[in-house]
């Protein structure tokens, strides 16, 4: 028995450590989902905003991209805040994101190449179906002002520096409020610190209001309802940015450029334009072929 345990331990140790070494030698053979070993492949890392992942869009696009360009695509699922941080640390080669002001700053700071819009939709303000605060049909600014004055219905904020959170701050500013006054104005304002789908769940649980992109909302409606969906401030543009090789010499520029080309290709644009149509009766995104949408 003594020997048996000793051998067992030794085998486990050697096996695990060799698997580790195997895994750490950069681009190695990888296994596909049924465990078959695939030939050596390049890996490219992309950070994406949560909404493109939570709606299932990347699950559809990932295998397409991998097949077309023969590289392994590693997708990091992150709020825009941490996605930019990955970019500044040179840990990714390309990012898909929806936070225009932050994107422009990222590029201006020298970390990103060009900002190329590839999809858009709208933000919506959602809340309980009986709408206790009575904001249905208002403009986004009016709706936010009403919630802030009443202080009786909870507002669940993403609170995670994501693109949606930036948009929320922009709406508070447009409604004439100082954001730090809002966050300290009482228990009606809840900073959830989590992704869009959990935030929607949170709002549903407490009968609260929240700001969401239409795509994630349609995929996670619960008992919430769209109350405000108009206003040019609600435009939500997703863009793709390749990391600047000057700032990050190790970035995979070729594959990052391929990704930009892929996302703006006619085939993928048509797919994005119809994505969700069969499941939700309306598409979650609109195509914009690399141009800034205006309406």
């Amino acid at each position: 028995m003594k020997k048996f345990a000793f051998y067992l331990l030794t085998i486990v140790m050697i096996a695990s450590i060799s698997v580790t070494c195997f895994a750490c030698s950069g681009s190695t053979d990888t296994e596909d989902q049924s465990g078959n070993v695939l030939p050596k492949q390049t890996r490219i890392r992309l950070a994406t905003t949560t909404s493109l992942y939570d709606t299932g869009l990347w699950s559809l696009l990932e295998p397409m991209y991998e097949e077309e360009y023969g590289v392994e695509l590693d997708i990091l699922y992150a709020g825009s805040g941490i996605a930019f941080e990955y970019g500044r640390n040179c840990d990714i080669s390309v990012l898909t994101i929806h936070s225009k002001a932050d994107e422009l700053k990222f590029i201006e700071d020298g970390y990103g190449m060009e900002r190329i819009p590839f999809a858009y939709n709208h933000f919506v303000i959602v809340g309980p179906a009986d709408d206790p605060a009575g904001i249905a049909g208002m403009s986004p600014q009016e709706a936010f002002a009403t919630l802030a004055e009443q202080k009786s219905s909870p507002f669940i904020s993403r609170g995670d520096n994501s693109g949606t959170h930036s948009k929320e701050k922009a709406i508070w500013a447009a409604a004439g409020y100082n954001y730090s006054d809002i966050t300290s104005s009482g228990s009606w304002y809840v900073s959830a610190g989590k992704g869009m789908a959990p935030t929607l769940m949170h709002a549903g649980e407490v009968g609260g209001y929240t700001l969401s992109d239409i795509g994630t909302f349609l995929a996670n409606q619960g008992n919430l309802k769209i109350l405000v969906d108009s206003g040019s401030i609600m435009l939500n543009v997703y863009s793709v940015i390749a990391i600047n090789p000057t700032a990050c010499p190790n970035t995979d520029s070729t594959n990052a450029a391929n990704m930009v080309e892929f996302l703006t290709s006619d085939e993928v644009q048509a797919l994005i334009d119809n994505y969700g149509m069969s499941q939700y009766g309306q598409s979650l995104f609109s195509a914009c072929f690399g141009n800034e949408p205006t309406e």
């Binding site: 140790m13 939570d54 840990d91």
Partner: protein
Amino acid sequence: MNDLWGAFEQAIRLIVSRDPEVMNIAWRSLWIAAASTAICVAICLPLGSLIHFNKFRGKHLLLSLLQTLFSMPTVVVGLFVYVMVSNSGPLGMMGLVFTPAAMVIGQTLLIIPMMLGLVISSFSGVDKAVMETATSLGANRLQAYTINIKEAKFPIMTAVAMGFGRAISEVGASMIIGGNIKGYTMTLTTGISQYVSMGLIEQAFALGIILLLMALLINIAIYLLQKRRQYVWFPS
């Protein structure tokens, strides 16, 4: 309740059908935690022996520091390793960021304090006569340490089980260091939080049930090993 029941059904279905994606995630969780535990054992047994059998200044301080680190938050370890292995960090040129290898480093660092502390405390349960006898019979230091480790094998096994348990169940470090990349660094725990954030509660629970089943099997195996050996060594 619907969620829970549905989750249970789904977990059974995923296990029975050997769903390739789930099997992949479960296998990855298992080997990352096992590799971390193995490396940790390889470090802690010799280091623990050295600390236990040598008097030095600050030994008590070191031991209480180790105990403090038992409760080190996993995200702090994760953040530390991420900053180290990030391409802009000091170990960036090794290209380890968002790889399983980096996760092994993180989990190893996470469980070293606990395992080292438990190994040292299991040595203090060994009769001092064992070392004295071994030395007087001409054993050199290495041989004497080995004999001492063998004497303490049962509590050491418990320490290994606890270390493994902490490694496989932690989510914070794996999430930050591995980045939760599907098909590459997603583990059971980071997969659970991914599914929750996608609103797929049943799938999340199903992965949780699989994690618990794996931990259960491993603990049963360790229990049987201990029990069998006790029976052989100390027949009643």
